[in-house]
Amino acid sequence: MKRRQVLAAGAACCASLLARSAGAQAMHYAAPERFGRPDIASDEGGLWALMDREEKGLRRSPLVLRDEKLKNYVQDIACRLGSEHCPDIRVYLVRTPLFNASMAPNGMMQVWTGLLLRMENEAQLAAVLGHEIGHYLQRHSVERLRDIRSKSAFGQVLSLFGLIGAVGQIAVAASAYAYGREHEHEADRIGAVLMHRAGYDVAEAAKVWNNLLKEVRAREGKEPEQTAPLFASHPAPPERRDILGQIAAAMPGGSRGDDAYRRHVAAHLDEWLQDEVKRGQYAESLALISRQIGSGFAPGLMSYYRGEVYRLRAEPGDQDLALADYRLAAQMPDPPAVAFRGIGLICRQQGQNGEAVQGFRRYLELAPAAPDAAFIQSYLAELGS
């Protein structure tokens, strides 16, 4: 057996043992009492003060979603998971099209919209929030801080904060207290317990990582650890998915909350999908959107945006795929107006002028004040209409 095979077998064995151990221990977690504010002169107090400063700026950030209904919905989920720690958890939904969530030691929790776009139901969101609350309850960031400090790198971390000093750069701050693999496994286990106690289906936790794994793998030539920021310091998704699957087997039952989740995020999907498409990560976007179409989540809007991805990727055959998706979206009840614009754009390029004119006209009927209305009018003039 080659050395690599031996190492792989060893890793698999360790993962399996860890999973069994985690499954057996999972039910016995006792959360600590609520944390008091640490002494400002202590290292933990300094970290809290730093995060307080970040949070003050975050409150004013134009990137924070001002939808109180959605915010309260996510806050309520965090409260169900955090139980007696609920009063200390403050949720901020941040418009950033990447899969990420973080929780600072002072109770500030950030959830990025790219993560919300990728969830299929409330239980999946609870899995991520529960994981972050697990870090918080175990004060992993403080342990991490002390670890960094012991390596004489804390000064560099502080200088990093000082240099950036920007509200929107909390991801940088998050990476400064990035956790090790043991912390991640522990947070996964605690998150699963919290999910179970709150009445969620723990099996959805494994699906989060499986879905993300598929998406990241769709990006040619990149391993998960090289792409999503959340993976940089986290255990590999396959390992994580497998361990969470085994933990879930020990805690069956629970609800998924498909309808509630979809109802709450529906008003933002258009904006989040726009942001997703602008990333230009077409393979990832196709994997994500196709998965959501398959799950029956907003099929009209999702089909339109998959068409947009094909149109902008512009590889051979993509025009036809885009047109098929635009037509699909246009046939849905309450179709998005932009689907007709998409039909017009592709048909114009393909010389199908009659259908192009129909598409453009329908688009302008449905969205007369669209930002590109003047440009579409020029196309209609060019097509002799």
């Binding site: 700026g57 004013r60 950030s61 134009p62 990137l63 418009r95 950033t96 099209p97 990447l98 240099l163 950036i164 920007a166 509200v167 929107g168 750069q169 792409t227 942001d275 602008k278 990333r279 230009g280 990560q281 149109r311 902008l312 512009a314 754009l345 390029q349 930002p371 590109d372 003047a374 440009f375 020029s378």
Partner: protein, 190 residues
């Protein structure tokens, strides 16, 4: 591009970047784009900024005029790796329709996860060629500043020419918008 701001500040502080004053009058950008300016601009030069030229009126972290001159088919719209290699590289194709060009520019300007919202797209004669003009809102991720922007562009002989200007919405954009509009109006593609 905004992802570069902290890096640029460090580069300037380290003396790796240069600032050159662009006086009123005519200037040729690249080989084929001529612009006339009324008033002085600062032309920033630093490693990794090409193929755009970056000009500013108020300073590096405030307003930004991006000038693209003669971008060829297959050419990248920003310096490779300038955003840490984690974002998509946007490449110009001479076969792109106007909407795809504007979408590409949106992608370039939101590579750092800044928020970009197109508010207007219309036909525009730029540099003597049939082109486009667009307006947008922009929330810069690095400092959460809300910007307004305006862009102009045209494709000629398979090459892209564009001017894009953005600045904080409350003071600086209204202050310099007319100058940029005049610059675009007088631009000539040779």
């Amino acid at each position: 591009m905004n992802r570069l701001l902290p890096i640029l500040l460090v580069l300037f502080l380290a003396g790796c970047g240069t600032v050159r004053k662009m006086e009123s009058g005519s200037h040729t950008i690249g080989e084929r784009l001529a612009v006339s300016i009324d008033g002085s601009w600062n032309h920033l030069d630093f490693p990794g900024i090409k193929p755009a030229q970056v000009w500013t009126m108020e300073g590096i972290a405030v307003d930004e005029l991006l000038i693209y001159s003669g971008i060829k088919d297959g050419q990248m719209m920003h310096a490779e790796g300038s955003a840490g290699g984690k974002q998509q590289n946007f490449v110009f194709r001479s076969t792109m329709q106007t909407e795809a060009i504007v979408a590409m520019l949106e992608g370039v300007m939101s590579r750092d996860n800044s928020v970009f919202k197109l508010t207007r797209l219309e036909p525009y004669r730029f540099g003597g060629r049939q082109g486009f003009r667009f307006e947008y809102e922009h929330i810069r991720k690095v400092d959460n500043v809300q910007l307004l922007g305006v862009g102009f562009g045209a494709v000629d002989r398979g090459e892209l020419f564009a001017l894009i200007y953005h600045a904080p919405r409350l003071t600086f954009f209204p202050r310099h918008r007319a100058q940029v509009e005049a610059m675009a109006k007088a631009a000539v593609i040779r």
